[in-house]
Symmetry: C2
DNA sequence: TGAATAGTGTCTTTCAGACAATATGCC
DNA sequence: GGCATATTGTCTGAAAGACACTATTCA
């Protein structure tokens, strides 16, 4: 069978959605943003925010638009995660979803009350509710990717404010890997990589103030490997 | 806008295809399989094999089916690469393509003459023809992924017969990275990882015969990380 | 001065990389 | 014996990991 003999308009077409797994660090925990479904199927269950891709927009544009519409979040780090296309994953019809993976600094985040009544909430990745569709599988995959990314790239900085202390950075790693690191070795590693530069000191804390760092501009973009 | 208020059948839907980038090592070179297009658009140009996803099959099933239909190749290592969805990537209509990445051992490959007249040929990755659609971009991305995979996983073995010499393995790495490695360091590394075990010796060669190895079963599957 | 967190150095082990001579089988 | 390829070890430098005490600010 040769595809070019077929008129592309003749094929029955699947629906295509994007879903966005948005992670942040909040309350010393790794959080993911979920929305509550208020219609069939999986009514009342929590789901990863997402929606249908429109004909005139790219997948990444669709992901940004949906994230804004559903959660009022903009300006996030965004990358494509994986495409899930099992024919039975959505009971309504054939739906192929392109999952995106997003990171945001919780301090500059305002989850403005949504205009519609839908619940939008942060959940701990270590204590998830029952999820709609195959979303649990997607989240597990996203967590693997997040860990991989932290190990081999500089995405961790996307979870922090522009200026941060090395202890904050270490805490991000500890929360995401769910284990402790040695403080001296951690700092030695980060500083020897030359990723950051000193830009001041903490103020108004009831203990010795920590040095503040920010990411070196030139190195800050070694993020996009895959 | 809340997606659940919409009837999913109301949206205009994009077409979804799978494309399969099949790599092999042949004639001391990294080759990729391409097919010649015989209709508009890009008539006469070479393209990555692929085709439309059917409603009842998964993406991976579609990739396997298309690969078999277009090139008669089965039994390959297959993983999802990336989904390309630019609205203008196909002049016919909106087509989102899920690209797959495949590896095969050229010694057990029979590209049986296709039943249709279409040309199917191996091209050197280092000397590609003009490609249809955004396929050049897709191939570049696939090469990056291939290199990454060789560095961090054991996929290289998918490009070799079951029994192989360390020199053959080293040649695979040299071809794909397009540079030479030190023989002693390379062998030390492979052997110290405990990935392979000795299973005999070459025969009938006009020089000192090399030891043959095969992949240790238990370790052979450290491939599926991403 | 006590509470809280920041900041710092050494030793050991492991791994990567540079580097060249000998061994084996076939003709 | 000559040809062609296979096989092997040492040294050096860099990075990772184990490990515990002192410094600073504020209340």
């Amino acid at each position: 069978m040769v595809k070019e003999k077929y008129d592309v308009t003749k094929f029955e077409r699947p629906s295509v959605t994007v879903d966005i797994i948005l992670f942040t660090i909040k309350d010393n925990d790794l959080k993911v943003l979920l929305v509550k479904r208020n219609v069939w199927p999986f009514k009342g269950m929590w789901a990863i925010p997402g929606g249908f891709v429109r004909m005139e927009e790219s997948l990444e544009e669709a992901a940004k638009r949906e994230l804004k519409e559903e959660t009022n979040v903009t300006d996030v780090y965004l990358e494509q995660l994986y495409t899930f296309g099992d024919p039975k994953r959505d009971p309504r019809t054939r739906v192929i979803t392109v999952a995106y993976f997003a990171l945001v600094d919780s301090t500059k985040l305002k989850l403005k009350a949504s205009t519609d009544v839908r619940d939008v909430k942060w959940f701990s990745m270590y204590n998830l509710p029952k999820l709609a569709f195959d979303h649990e599988k997607i989240l597990k995959y996203a967590l693997k990717r997040l860990r991989w990314k932290l190990e081999y790239t500089t995405v961790a900085f996307k979870l922090l404010p522009e200026k941060f202390t090395l202890s904050q950075l270490q805490r991000v790693y500890e929360i995401i890997f769910n284990k402790k690191f040695d403080k001296r070795n951690f700092r030695k590693k980060i500083l020897s990589l030359g990723l950051v530069k000193e830009v001041g000191k903490e103020k108004g804390v009831a203990h010795r103030p920590a040095k503040l760092y920010k990411l070196n501009k030139k190195i800050g973009e070694i993020v996009e490997i895959f």
